[in-house]
């Protein structure tokens, strides 16, 4: 159950019934009212219709995750009710479509507040069943203190474009909902925090944020291949990159996407692609080529449940092995992993910069729950981002593409540069690019290619350590699980348990010394992550002297804070 000022509303129903737009409107209205928002959704697996859930967590303070469960549940239909009724624990509230909906609930459990509201009926009376979500919004706004003014502004902005008639109709439905809400006798105390001074924020999903990071990072070429849950990144880029004169193409498969990325990058353009695990697996040979040929390239992997087709729309953090070691031969790359939507923007810029700086493939890991999670984040300021361009040849003297240099990074030459003609090749080569299988050369070249990224562990921002001094439990985690752990650590401390967190974003090369230093201050180390094998635990065991306690789940859903809190209590 969330604390004061912190409310979690879940809306669920049939896809297409307006569940998503209801959620979006509420989230936007709250953000406009100066509140922090973190949303989480699951989509119907079917193409049309099917169960759909949208959860909004809203608070006057920063929210790091989707929360344990809901406080308020709004059931649009019987299926939604059936799938969520086990979560109706004492203290929760349910608003449901009755009479006139498609179900009548079982006996309401003790301690649960239930508000039957005839939402479908009201919508039908207004002349359009489709306006049910507007009615619901009116009901919820009155019952739970959702800022009416900002909600009205959001609705107006949205429907104004469709003409006055549409706008008026929707506002009428909204008013009707408010009327119904006012007629309900409120007995619970759930309410959205009051409006505060609005902040300079945007509200955006993880996938859109990656696209925004790409734009801010100076991306020039994107090659796409559709795959859940990454496709929205390509859509964002397709919409906006032509405004900068850039290019997005959809390739025939992921091998072709990464191939096109390497070609465009060789030709001098900042290039990237996005995919999910199955696509990344297909790209693995090309990533080896990019490493060998020292070609900058960014691949964003929005992880999903696997293996194989797996759970395409569900959450999992299970591509760490693939991202770090999914290559033939010895071919490491830079692997970054984001925690939240803000990271999706900022670290996409970092990732593009690293690709350019180190002339190698960079993999940025996001995940299925972040992909569709919308969050309020400070509005990015384009001028605050420093963009890195690859080292280019100055045209002096004879050109050696793979020349050994102090920082092991060799200048590149774009096609069309006189005197810079050279080969980018997957065959082992000497400084000029000519094939060479001399043992000493291969060793030196591997040393160069590994060496140039090794220093990143010292230069990239230090891993965030949450907490100070000695601790009974140290929790190391990655990806969107970090947000869950942040709250768990807070709660543990509130209960008097000395807990610390360690939140790496640079997954490879691994900042081993920082892991060791952190572990030295903790009696026990717990590593929660959403995969079966405990992939980060594995790397910790392999690369450090730490012997962590893995805590893995893989049910297609993220952790929630109480799971972590309970686990800590169990292992202490």
């Amino acid at each position: 159950m969330s604390k004061a000022n912190d409310l979690i509303i879940r809306v669920a129903g049939e896809g297409g019934e307006g569940v998503v737009s209801t959620g979006d409107f509420i989230a936007a209205a709250c953000a406009r009212a100066g509140l922090e928002v973190y949303t989480f959704k699951t989509f119907p697996a079917e193409i049309k219709g099917g169960y759909c859930m949208y959860q909004i967590r809203v608070s006057s303070e920063r929210v790091y995750n989707q929360g344990d469960t809901f406080d308020v549940f709004c059931a649009f239909n019987g299926e939604a009710y059936e799938l969520n009724k086990h979560l109706l624990t004492p203290g929760t509230t349910i608003v449901y479509d009755y009479p006139g909906g498609d179900f009548e609930p079982d006996a309401i459990p003790e301690g649960v507040t239930a508000y039957p509201v005839p939402m479908s009926q009201a919508a039908k009376d207004l002349g359009s069943y489709r306006s049910k979500n507007m009615v619901a919004m009116g009901v919820l706004s009155v019952l739970f203190n959702i800022n009416e003014e900002t909600l009205r502004q959001v609705l107006t902005n949205k429907f104004k474009k469709k003409g006055d008639e549409v706008l008026d109709f929707n506002l009428k439905a909204f008013e009707k909902g408010k009327e119904l809400g006012a007629g309900v006798k409120k007995v619970d105390t759930w309410r959205v925090a009051d409006a505060v001074e609005p902040k300079d924020v945007i509200i955006i999903s993880g996938n859109d944020a990656v696209g925004m990071g790409a734009v801010l990072g100076g991306l020039e070429f994107f090659s796409a291949y559709p795959i859940t849950p990454a496709t929205e990144i390509a859509k964002f880029v397709a919409t906006h990159i032509p405004k900068f004169g850039g290019t997005l193409v959809q390739a025939e498969d992921e091998i072709a996407s990464i191939g096109q990325v390497l070609g465009a990058s060789y030709a001098g353009k900042k290039s990237m692609t996005s995919t999910s695990g199955p696509g990344l697996a297909l790209m693995s040979e090309m990533l080896g080529m990019a490493f060998m040929g020292e070609i900058p390239a960014l691949v964003v992997d929005v992880q999903r449940g696997g293996p194989s087709t797996g759970l395409p729309t569900k959450h999992e953090q299970s591509d760490l092995f693939l991202a770090i070691h999914g290559a033939h031969g010895d071919a490491p790359r830079v692997v970054l992993s984001v925690e939240d939507v803000k990271d999706c923007v900022d670290m996409t810029v970092d990732a593009l910069n690293f690709a350019e700086q180190f002339q190698c493939p960079v993999i940025l890991l996001s995940d299925g729950s972040l992909a569709f999670s919308t969050q309020t984040i400070p509005a990015p300021k384009p001028e605050n981002y420093t963009l890195v361009n690859r080292k280019r040849w100055d045209g002096q003297g004879k050109y050696f593409r793979y020349a050994m240099t102090d920082d092991m990074i060799s200048p590149m030459a774009d096609p069309g540069t006189p005197g810079g003609e050279h080969i980018a090749t997957g065959l082992e080569h000497n400084a000029s690019g000519a094939p060479s299988w001399v043992p000493a050369n291969h060793e030196a070249m591997q040393g160069k290619r590994f060496g140039k990224i090794a220093g990143l562990v010292d230069t990239y921002k230090p891993v965030e350590v949450d907490g100070e001094g000695e601790a009974e439990i140290g929790i190391i985690t990655w990806g969107s699980t970090i947000g869950v752990v942040r709250e768990a650590v807070e709660r543990l401390r509130a209960e008097g348990i000395k807990a610390k967190g360690f939140y790496p974003k640079l997954m490879w090369p691994m900042p081993v010394a920082q892991y060791e230093a952190f572990a030295a201050t903790c009696k026990k180390i717990l590593v929660p992550e959403v995969n079966y094998q405990g992939q980060l635990s594995h790397f910790i065991r392999a690369e450090t002297s730490i012997r962590p306690i893995p805590y893995t789940i893989c049910g297609g859903l993220p952790f929630n804070p109480s799971m972590i809190v309970n686990k800590v209590k169990e292992v202490l």
Partner: protein
């Protein structure tokens, strides 16, 4: 091809050679094709600085090493997508793929239709020797069934494909075929291909003297028939008819098909034009779309 790369240099064919010595077997047809390519470049006056040669893996895919230019030696079967990326990133450059039948039609077969269909403005020269040369003689998608190769000691179980029909079907806008024993024909067709705006495909039969003992120079010579004068190269039906070969199993030599169609880079450029794209576009405009 791009205009920028054309008529920029007075260079003899041999001036396009690189320092790397050609490593093909003496007697390999690939030598003649390389000469044809260099001759075409010389006649077009291509500046090697504005030329990007891309290849996959195979004996034929080593071609870029032997030439002076920007070049990429990529992965088995993947030259097409990589070259597409180069072309889209730098439409002002001349982009050329050289590769083998195995590289192009076996492992890379999934990419072939899409280069053609999208009309990527580049030239694909396929060295068709009906064998995997570099891996020492396994059968390829263009091998004849009679060929007893390394992995087909009793002959091949499947029928060879027809590269010309394939490329015509998928919409290549320039389709030609030659034979390494006719370097002048090769040079002319390659020259036409490079000068063509759009995706141009030149299939060149090339004897592998080391591993394909049945597709000899003699065999290819008897196989080829010059395309009759008066063939209408803008007639897709007629081109396909030619590509099928005549009733006696001969194969056409010459230009089968050439039409003009908008290229992929042109279409992408028109999207940029449509939205009024320019480098200095204010990123804040995009950020503002996400304000609540």
């Amino acid at each position: 091809m791009s205009v920028a790369a054309l008529h920029k240099k007075e260079m003899a064919p041999k001036d396009y050679k690189s320092d790397v010595n050609v490593v093909w077997c003496p007697g390999c047809g690939h030598h003649g094709i390389l000469n044809g390519i260099m001759r075409a470049l010389s006649e077009l006056g291509v500046d090697p600085t504005n030329l990007v040669n891309v290849s996959g893996i195979g004996c034929s895919s080593r071609t870029p090493y032997f030439m002076q230019s920007y070049k990429m030696h990529t992965l088995h079967g993947r030259a097409g997508p990589v070259a597409t990326g180069v072309q889209l990133a730098r439409p002002d450059q001349l982009v050329c793929i050289t590769g083998g039948d195995g590289d192009g039609f076996a492992i890379g077969g999934g990419h072939m239709p899409h280069m053609a269909r999208r009309n990527v403005n580049m030239t694909y020269i396929l060295f068709d020797n009906g064998i995997y040369g570099l891996t020492k003689g396994q059968y390829s998608p263009t091998s004849r069934r009679e060929l007893k190769a390394y992995t087909t000691p009793y002959g091949g179980p499947d029928d060879p494909m027809n590269p010309l029909l394939y490329m015509l079907t998928y919409g290549a806008t320039y389709v030609a075929q030659a034979f390494a024993g006719k370097p002048k024909v090769c040079a002319d067709l390659i020259k036409g291909a490079m000068a063509h705006k759009g995706f141009s495909y030149v299939n060149i039969y090339s004897q592998c003297v080391t591993y394909n003992r049945i597709d000899t120079i003699q065999y290819y010579r008897d196989l080829m028939r010059e395309i009759p004068e008066g063939h209408d190269t803008s007639d897709l039906g007629a081109a396909m008819e030619l590509a099928r070969g005549d009733g006696e199993g001969h194969r056409p030599m010459g230009l089968l098909y050439q039409v003009e169609r908008e290229t992929l880079d042109e279409r992408l450029a028109s999207i940029v034009k449509l939205v009024g794209g320019h480098e200095g576009y204010d990123k804040n405009k995009i950020i503002n779309l996400f304000r609540p």
